[in-house]
Each structure stands twice: as C-alpha cells, then as structure tokens.
Symmetry: C2
Subunit: 252 residues, 2 copies
Amino acid sequence: MAEHTAPTAAVLLIGDEILSGRTKDRNLGYIADYMTALGIDLKEARVVADDESEIADAVNALRSKYTYVFTTGGIGPTHDDITADSVARAFGVTIDHDPRAVEILKAWYAEIGREVTPARMRMARIPEGAELIENPISKAPGIHIGNVFVMAGIPKVMHAMLDAVAPKLQKGAPVLSRSVSANIGEGDIGGPLKEIQERFPEVTIGSYPFEVRSGFGSNIVVRSRDKRALDVAFADVEAMIEDLRKAGKETT
Amino acid sequence: MAEHTAPTAAVLLIGDEILSGRTKDRNLGYIADYMTALGIDLKEARVVADDESEIADAVNALRSKYTYVFTTGGIGPTHDDITADSVARAFGVTIDHDPRAVEILKAWYAEIGREVTPARMRMARIPEGAELIENPISKAPGIHIGNVFVMAGIPKVMHAMLDAVAPKLQKGAPVLSRSVSANIGEGDIGGPLKEIQERFPEVTIGSYPFEVRSGFGSNIVVRSRDKRALDVAFADVEAMIEDLRKAGKETT
C-alpha cells in the first residue's frame, strides 16, 4: 500500500528565542503544510536551544529515524548562530569556509555595497561534503548534508530555501482529506466514530473540538491515500452525523 | 549562582493535526511565556503524532531529563485521544476510570443536561497514582503524575489547567531581559557583539534579524538572572550600536 512507502520527515526548530517565548514560531506550520502537499509524512518536530550538543543529538536522533530532516534557525552571522557547527559535529565532519559560499557572499556584498566582515563570512562556513541550498533572498546559503536540510529561521528566507529543496525530494502519493463540521459534542460523536475508524483501517479519522455558545462542536477530518476508502468512510461519517442530529444531539 | 539551580521544563505537543498542518499550534508560545514568567527554563519541545509508543517514548525521554514535562492534546473523548493511555504506559502503571473523575463528570453532565456516554467517560480514565488537574472550563480533568502534567489541547482549557498547576511548581529567579533594536545588519554587529558575549558569561545575548527597506536590521536581546551583569553588558551593547551608527553602518 502506498501509505507504507511514503517518505517521512522531521522538523528541528533551533533557537533560544522560541523556548523563551520571545519569538512565536510560524515555521513548523508552514513546513507541515508543505510536506502534506508533497505527500511526505511529517512524523515529528523538536525545538532545541542554541546549544551545540543538544542540536547535534537531535539531528542524529531524527536523521536516523526519518527519510528527511529539515532544520530552521541558527545560520546567521552572530555568535549565537551555531547550527552549521552543530550539524558538522552530528555528522563527524570538519567545517570551514566553503569556496562556493565565499564567492556567492563576496559577489553579493560587492553588489549591495556591504563590507565583507568576518561575521558575514561565518555564513560561508559549510560542513565538509555538504551541498549548498540556494537563498535568493539574502544569498547566505542553506546546507544539504546526507538527508538533512539546514535552512534559515527567517520565514521568508526559509520559504525560498524550501522551494529550492523541493525538486530534490522523493514525493509520496498525496494524502487526500475530507472534513465535516457539526454542532455536536465529541462525547456524542466519540462512540459511533470509533466504530467507523475500526471498520476502515485504511483511513485516519481525527476529531477536533471547537466552542459553540452552549458547549462544543466537532470538526471531523478523514484522511487517506486511498480515494475509494476515503469516500466510503466519509459517507459513513456523514450518515452518523445525520443520525445524531435526528436524535436531538445538536447544540447551539 | 541562581541560574544553575533554576528548574527546567519541556513541552510535548501531541496530535496528528499539528504535523499535518491542519492546526497551527499556539500552545508552545503560551507555555514558553508562562515558564519565563515563573523563572522556569523551558529547554526543549517536541511534537509527536497520535501514536501510543511515540508518545510514551517522548514522555520518558523528557521526564528523565527535565524538572517538569507539560503535554497538550489527546485527552478528549474520541478514539484518537490516547494521551492518558500513553502516559500510563510510559510510567508502567495501569489506567482505569477514576472515581474522583467519574464523579466530577457525572455531576457536570447532569448539570448541563448531556448524556453520560462511554465516550465521555473515557475522559475519566486516569493512570494509577495520578492526581487530577482541575478544569474549570469543560470539567474533564488533566493529569498530574510524577513530574508530568497532562493538559488539554484546546488553548482556553490548557490555560486554565496551567493556572491550576502553577502553584505546585518550584519557581526560579526570574530571567531579566533588556533589548534594543537597530537598523544595522547582523553582519556588522556580529563581531563586536561576540566580544561582549565573551566578556559577560553571566548574560545570554541573542540577535534576531528583521527586514528593513534595503536589507536587515537587528534586535539584540540580553538576558540574565543577574541584574548588575545585565545592566553592564547592555550598556556595552548600546555603546557598540552607537559606534556602528557613527561609522555609517545604519541602513534604511
């Protein structure tokens, strides 16, 4: 079945600022949507601080478990940008100024009239054996090593890097989904919904509550790579909701 | 030094819907702010799918490493709500309907005129030896077992549970922070900022870029539990920025 052979992915968000609450992450949701569109199953995400051994440990745990790992954050020019070094450590390789990256950055700073500082040249430090990920926004490249893609934390730059990376990725069959919303609480839906889930192992049924005036309603989402199974299971969900409405379970 | 004895925490967000992109998480940022206000160092976060062994493994990895673990999601009445069972498995204890929780739920459903369904009673299943976390919004309790706090995924309910939990937590000295924004790129700031960081190991200096019309500016954040060190280091950061302005590094 296609589902079992779909590529998998993990996201690693790097940065003290997310854990202190200063920055509210928007990258995970973006990458999640992107992976879903490519048919790649995002299985796990982690957030770690700017700490070389924490980053390296997380990279190694995730890269051994999933098809792809996408990191964001920590590849800028300041002292707290230690992702490239941490990834080199995770792979047990050296890191140094990469002639390809040096050339890209020098040309860019000449064009925009910025001084080539040692801090800016930090962004040309690339682990041995890695490929560069193109950054059309601010030029400092991302890093592709093994099955790990190291991207910027700035959303606009990360989006461009993900676009650059996407053609290299193995795609899965797209996950199809159908959803329905009802002003019926999960406590009434839970029993019959469980029976539908058990009858259709080829689909994944999720239930997500929302508030209504006098209680909660439910969004039911049915997902599958198998369109026929999806449609049949979804018809059962719709019939179940109709039955519960007739039984007076709808709230307002 | 107070910094070394501060309690630590991790967050575990549970749910397929976050990894598929359907739901954009808002709980991590809220808990991060909350921990910062309590002087508790949030060190790591993870997002895992609705999978019992993945949840149990993550709970065990995190609870052995940090003072506290806070989970959100998966404690509702539907078949995909498996957090309570997964936490019982992580702790190697049984799980069953808890008389205290059953009583709370029965009284509540009698009050609001809802049927007591088996699905609703799923929310009274509590691991052996756990305490309940009060839920003033929708009554179904959270779970406190060992150093793990199991909370709802619905933000409003999670917020109320965190308020109920907070008095039980060991607090740390608050982390103080001062920040300054400059229309100067990190490539110009990076060198002198690194020197300041090296002179003041008692503070943590972060630099976060933002876009301006013709490039990037930088937000510099200095954090410390030591007010004197914070003020002295911050004065150096301000002086550094003034020097860079005088040197014509400001962009527009």
